[in-house]
Symmetry: C2
């Protein structure tokens, strides 16, 4: 009893293309090949195919399946390994889902993706264009709403904190302290906390924090606040060191 490629495909619920593929990779060679080149399969091939399809439904890769059906690996071992990998994938997905959810929440809550870090305590409206380009229009509007929602006292507090940080950075640079030394890193810790206030609820990750430091260097409007290009580079280095150690 033997069947053509289409017949086998039908009864096994797959396609002839798949069977040809399995032949190509040596996973399931046809039982016989006619003089016309046609592939023919018998019951042995059919049962082998069914084992293959079963394992594939469980998500195993074709090389792994080959190991199993060729008897080089026990079913249980292969499946256990596979299960480990599936669980890892699930973990990854879960983390990503949580990230996306909190990101959406932040946007809906008006916090808007790292917009606030741009409001370095100054008249933030002057950065409107740049913020919009950088983070989108909603970002600017949301950040603006947030900043405006602060009481005068809160605003002053926020600005004063930042001025203190700037001043301490400047002093440290003046005094020749290393950017990655403990003293400067203590300032950077406050800097990080200060930024986190603007992010209400979360913190920047390492990459974001480092990127922000780069922007201080890249944009002299920010650089000016940290003592020009020199100061900006110093602060950037301090931030990078902080990110590397703590983030």
């Amino acid at each position: 009893m033997e069947w053509s490629i289409q017949e086998i495909a039908r009864v096994s619920g797959t396609t002839s293309r798949t069977l040809r593929h399995y032949d190509d990779i040596g996973l399931l060679p046809p039982t016989r090949i006619g003089s016309n080149g046609y592939r023919y399969y018998d019951e042995h091939a059919l049962t082998r195919l069914q084992r293959i399809l079963l394992l594939r439904e469980l998500g195993l890769g074709l090389p792994a399946i080959a190991e199993v059906v060729d008897g080089h690996q026990a079913n249980a071992d292969a499946l256990t390994n596979h299960l480990r990998w599936l669980r890892q994938e699930k973990e990854r997905l879960d983390r990503q889902i949580r990230s996306v959810e909190t990101t959406i929440l932040k946007m809906e809550g008006g916090e808007q993706l790292m917009a606030e870090e741009m409001f370095d305590g100054f008249d933030h409206t002057q950065y409107r264009e740049e913020v919009e380009e950088r983070w989108g229009k909603e970002a600017y509007a949301a950040g603006d709403r947030w900043y405006r929602s602060l009481s005068a006292e809160q605003k002053n507090r926020f600005r004063q904190d930042q001025l203190d940080i700037q001043r301490d950075y400047a002093a440290a640079l003046e005094a020749g302290k290393p950017a990655d030394g403990d003293e400067v890193q203590a300032i950077t810790q406050r800097h990080f906390d200060w930024i986190s206030v603007g992010w209400r609820g979360t913190h920047p990750n390492a990459q974001q924090f480092v990127g922000l430091g780069e922007m201080y260097v890249a944009d002299d409007r920010f650089g000016a606040n940290y003592g020009g290009i020199e100061g900006a580079r110093f602060v950037r280095d301090a931030m990078a060191a902080y990110a590397e150690r703590k983030l």
Copy 2:
């Protein structure tokens, strides 16, 4: 202020290859291209890159990211869609994990992947070779253990059920009943249940059930039990009809 491709790659935590790729697909063209062909990026490009990388960390595809950063789609919309897809993927993974878990359990419990269906109530040792080829050595051993673990009464019950099913199929065929008619399908329901007993706890899925029917036709040792090739084809058709409607 502009940077070379490597510099941008370093501060953004990605690779130059990725940046070239983003250039190739038009997602992030360099700000300037030197006469030597070198790519140079400025702050605008850097901030755009950071938006891109942030979205990519959330798992969005590059085309979707392009939609967002080019302002053709709102952040929230894109992320909400993405979240839906992530949840679906998680569902899929969960189902697959459960499948693999139960499969492993079945194997450990000695039930062993559809081995029992081969023991069509007869002296199953005569099928040893075939079962081993079909489902692996453990499958035979496990099925054997299972069958042997039954009490004499249970064995008789099991065999008697099957004989009844065979007899009823034969009578229906004799009477010219259609394989997909209600009467025959009622027999097939019992047939399905009978097989499920051997599977203790789960049932064959549509593909497996249909495949089993095909084997009755393919292998005359089984076919004989259902009234030769005629009977086997009839049973196979009934099983296929059942699978299509109920599985």
